[in-house]
């Protein structure tokens, strides 16, 4: 993997975003981090430059994570996606698989982020 990765994380919770930033900065200090609070904002932010990695919370106001993945794919066909959710029903896993994206269970903890990073790399 090239050293300068761009990672976009989408989550409506400020606490989750802060935690993601904290943990990823610790683990991958050289990554460039971009954050978005909603699917809509993420789409706007990826219009110009494309991140390599995108993680998205499923349950968000407005566009949900699944829908956002569909839209973001159009902007960033080469990015790797991970869906994050505390809803761990089999159905969610299946949908994530169908979309061809990773699925990691929330809440955002060190091990959760480790799984996200493992999926990315």
């Amino acid at each position: 993997m090239s050293s300068k990765m761009i990672y976009l994380y989408v989550d409506d919770s400020r606490v989750s975003r802060m935690k993601i930033r904290q943990l990823v900065q610790q683990a991958r200090p050289d990554w460039e981090l971009i954050e978005a609070t909603s699917g809509e904002e993420a789409i706007a932010k990826t219009a110009g430059s494309c991140p390599d990695l995108i993680s998205i919370d499923i349950n968000m106001p407005g566009m949900n994570g699944m829908e956002a993945v569909g839209e973001l794919r159009k902007n960033c066909p080469n990015a790797r996606f991970v869906l994050l959710s505390s809803n761990i029903q089999e159905e969610m896993h299946r949908q994530a698989r169908d979309l061809g994206v990773g699925f990691v269970e929330k809440p955002i903890t060190e091990s959760c982020i480790a799984k996200v990073l493992a999926y990315f790399e």
Binding site: V15, N59, S86, T109
Partner: protein, 729 residues
Amino acid sequence: MDEILLAFIEDGNDHLKAMESGLLRLEEGDADADTLNAIFRAAHTIKGDAGVVDLGHIEQFAHTLENYFQQLRSGELEVSRPLVTLLLRGCDHIKTLFAELVEGKPEPGKDLQDIGASLAAQLRSLMQGGQGGAEAAATHAHQRSVDASALTECWQIVVRFGPDLLRKGIDPYDVLAYLGSKGEIVRVITLTDRLPDASHMDPQVCYLGFEVHLRSSLSKQEIEQAFEIVRSDCELQVLPPGSQVGTFIQSIQTLPEESMRLGEMLVKSNALTSEELDEGLELLKSTADGAANPQHLGEILVGRHMVQPEIVEAAAARQQQVNEKKVDEARQIRVQAEKLDMLVDLVGEMVISSASANLMAQNSGRGDLIEANYGLSRLIERMRDLSLQLRMVQIGDTFTRFKRVVRDMAREMNREIELNIRGAETELDKSIVEKIGDPLMHLVRNAIDHGIEPAEARLASGKPAAGQLELNAYHETGGIVIEVADDGAGLDKDRILAKAIERGLVVEGQALSDQEIHDLIFVPGFSTADKVTKLSGRGVGMDVVRANISALRGSVEVLTERGSGSRFVIRLPLTMAIIDGFLVGVGKSQYVIPLEAVMECLEFEEAGAARDYINLRGEVLPFVNLRSLFGAEGESPERENVVIVRSGRNRAGIIVDNLLGELQTVIKPMSTVFRNLRGVAGSTILGNGEVALILDIPALMRLARDTEERSVCVPGQQQAARDHVAVDG
């Protein structure tokens, strides 16, 4: 503090605000899908964030709330006042947990954990009760078929719990759970129509009722037994299985007293499904268009054979009845009891202030001031009487409740009993009426269970087969008397005495008058019933009855004649708030004797004192010396006085230093620290600002009687007498 944690609390509080306002909108009924989503999301985010900052307890609690919001969102749950109330309390709980975090306590204390657990439990039990309601709504479309096949085979039980249930430590859920042991509960609907606004809701008051469909082969009595512990505190209606017309009419007649449309009433009483109603309304609309003489809904429904004409008539009659009652109620104003209490309280303070102003006026010696004060205190007195009257209620309602109790008990015991109620219009203070129900219930049960004999025995002794039970109330010298009388077997003196000796309450050979023997039934630890029946013998004896009545500053005594019946006479003050008293002085202290107890005052003759009794015109009376009882400082004055007091039919003397005259005063209850103090009923503040204790005359009389017994007993028996004193509290 960690910045993430800080963000968690800041955002969390925002989420809580959203949750709260959403819930309030939900309760008002103008919540759309967005509101429900917002509430759900708020809980969801708090849960997620709590997980991020590793606060498991908040995560877990938010998760509980989230689950309910999810079910509300999906329509699995119906919005109800109690549910919203609990969820709002859930918000408050999280808020408290946040506050703890701010104070730097990551782990909640035990008490907070308990609150959380109790909220979760309450939600759970509400859901178990309410789930049926939600299901019922969901399956409304099939209700007729459910009705026809399942529900008509069920007992329909409607129970409305009394407001004091929770305070008495009874959980309605337990009652329903116990009911479940009597058969299979097919459906439960929570009746929430009595729930007030959240702002008027008292968490200690039970507002709920339940409608239960129970499949059971037991008899009506056996089913009603499930409610025995709450019987006096609930309105219970048990309708037999089968959808007979009579059943519907009965349930229409007992619908809540609120204005309802005819169709609504029919649906509520299960006589009509909501689909049928819609159909009927549709027809009504189509026929009304253009028709010169439009049909009524009832006619249409009957015409379509959806409902029997009798039922429609019953519903229409009920509608009219409710409307009439509404008009009647409009002429009166409903006032919160609390406001009245505050008013009486203030008037009480005024009485005290007025007494103090009077005293100053007297001391000043200024005629015009004395006169002005006199006028003022007269007005205050009138105001006091009027304000107390506002709180007066008739005892009739309390009496009428017993009709059902007597009927049910008589059935159960296979006895015929006629209940005669007299003096139902007698008024007394609301606070007393509320508390007299339990003792009365006990006396009534006792009279039926132990007093009134079976029909054969009655006929054999020349009495009519039907036992007579009488509840009577009347006024008597500044108080009220309530009597519970039966024409049964009367108390068995010999058996009481034998039992009392067996229990060690009296010593064999001790000389006791009939009245004293009869009085033994009020002594703690005494119960004459050879077998404890489930009706009256439940470990609660007559001693509790006496204690309850004493707590109301009242007294109870029994008049009985072997073979012709017993009469329990309860004497109660008219009000608990204000007392007409007689002020006496002992040493530096002053005491108030309730005026209605005072019979006369005399000079105390030292001669009789040695033998602990006084001679009142040839009559021997026990006495209590307040100076020695309260350990007053200083020597007794040369001349002492004795106040002759009475309680019921007993009399005794109270020795005091000086007599200070009548006064009207406000009773301040004693702090709970003094709960076990005997002989003192309360305290009051005198015009000069000093505190005076109000004497509890019945308790003092018992003390006097015990003292007398001690001195009369032979030495070997003294211990027994003292034991008697020790338990007699």
